[in-house]
Symmetry: C2
Subunit: 232 residues, 2 copies
DNA sequence: TCTCGTATAATTGTATACAATCCGAATAAT
DNA sequence: ATTATTCGGATTGTATACAATTATACGAGA
């Protein structure tokens, strides 16, 4: 079970490479470095007070995450994330979270089920109190539990990737979030379907949950932030 | 269009890092390095006649691909790929290739359509002649065309990843491949559905194509190669 | 004026040197 | 005999030096 976390425990906060990696990812996703901007190894290194070596390694990781495009012997260019990318991710996630919920129906452990129920209960509590940070945290955690529960390393890995990817985008649209309660209600329904071993229903609900999350994002002004490049 | 290939053009055959990366991936997937085996930077470097630097960078990439687990200050350990991983990949691919075919129905260009038809025609020809290498090549290319045709950077990226992943595994089961003709026939049906703008049918056919491909793999002895770890 | 070629500067690719960390064996203390 | 402790080797982490490549600017020739 523990060996399942292959990738996102690479969060190696205490190595220079890990810190550079996280800092750059943050800066790219937050918009500090804009699309097509060139990132130079020495410049980044000096800015963060490290040599080129950890910077280069971080670059390679960012490339695999799809945030950077490295052209051999030329440079590293920011890829960014367009409104269409976000749309596509939610479309993919809709399918895969559905599959995940289906698999989880069979494979979920008692402990995971309990954590899920607790998660929903807590989310309701913080919703009443208006604790936005905790609500966001619990929302993320709900999905992580689901990913772990499907008992598929590959699927968990893929979904965490996408989840991570859209997290930063969501942070900016969450300020005006009015969907907390509806979202949690959907979590509850998914959880109940899993508990009742109704895989079909769990799948459909998880599908729809993603569609709703995306619709809400659009309503809250995703396009204004990123620009609509879906026609390009 | 060209900027869509973010990741797997990293195949940077002409840099040392790229070569090390490919060599190691090949060796891990082919079973030369077994699961949990430790890979040492200097040893690999000496074996390939390069210094530690490109080896380290390759390690970081392999980690993000999930083939290596790097424990800070300790070492890099081979993760490998189990029979269950392969099964899960095909399950995921079944869904996503279906989505891809659906999107391609709307978005495919005339040129892509033509290349697809040509691909199928050529595959038939080489099938008659018994040219196994070309058949495999065309099979891969068919899927790549489909990925490009869906006009979604994210989906294309994801599918190419998985495709690449299972390619190496397939190489070993392909020797006894008797599915070439059936596979190509399925390609033709998918192509026709897309051509007739029947998205639903294209999606279903692409779903099933993956299911069939997996079944064939299992029949040809996948389990004996990797061992059945699906119960672990 | 335009084009081609060369030189030079800037940047990445690779190798090596040095620092920090981890692991195990040998030794000392109880 | 068993447990701590310290030391040494091995390995990774980081910095720097050097090589290869690319882009740019400038000038010569048409």
């Amino acid at each position: 079970m523990a060996s399942y976390d292959i990738k996102h425990d690479v969060n190696d906060k205490y190595s220079l490479r890990g810190r550079v990696f996280q800092k750059l990812r943050e800066d790219i996703l937050s918009g500090k470095y804009k699309e097509h901007e060139e990132l130079k190894e020495v410049a980044i290194g000096e800015e963060l007070g490290v040599s080129r070596t950890p910077v280069r390694e971080a670059f390679r990781q960012l490339e695999l995450e799809g945030l950077l495009q490295i052209v051999p012997n030329k440079g590293a260019y920011v890829t960014g994330i367009t409104a269409k990318d976000v749309k596509d991710i939610y479309m993919i996630r809709s399918l895969l979270e559905g599959l995940c919920a289906r698999l989880a129906t069979e494979k979920i452990t008692k402990e995971q089920m309990e954590e899920m129920e607790e998660n929903i209960y807590l989310a309701e509590f913080h919703e009443d109190k208006g604790h936005l940070d905790q609500i966001a945290e619990l929302d993320n955690r709900f999905h992580d539990i689901l990913y772990e529960a499907c008992d598929s390393k590959m699927l968990e890995h893929t979904l965490k990737d996408f989840h991570q990817y859209v997290l930063r985008v969501r942070q900016r649209t969450l300020a005006t979030n009015t969907r907390g309660r509806a979202s949690n209600e959907e979590h509850r329904q998914i959880m109940e379907a899993i508990k009742e071993k109704d895989a079909d229903r769990a799948e459909k609900l998880a599908n729809q949950h993603m569609v709703n999350a995306y619709d809400n994002m659009v309503k809250n002004g995703l396009k204004e932030i990123y620009g609509d490049e879906s026609t390009s």
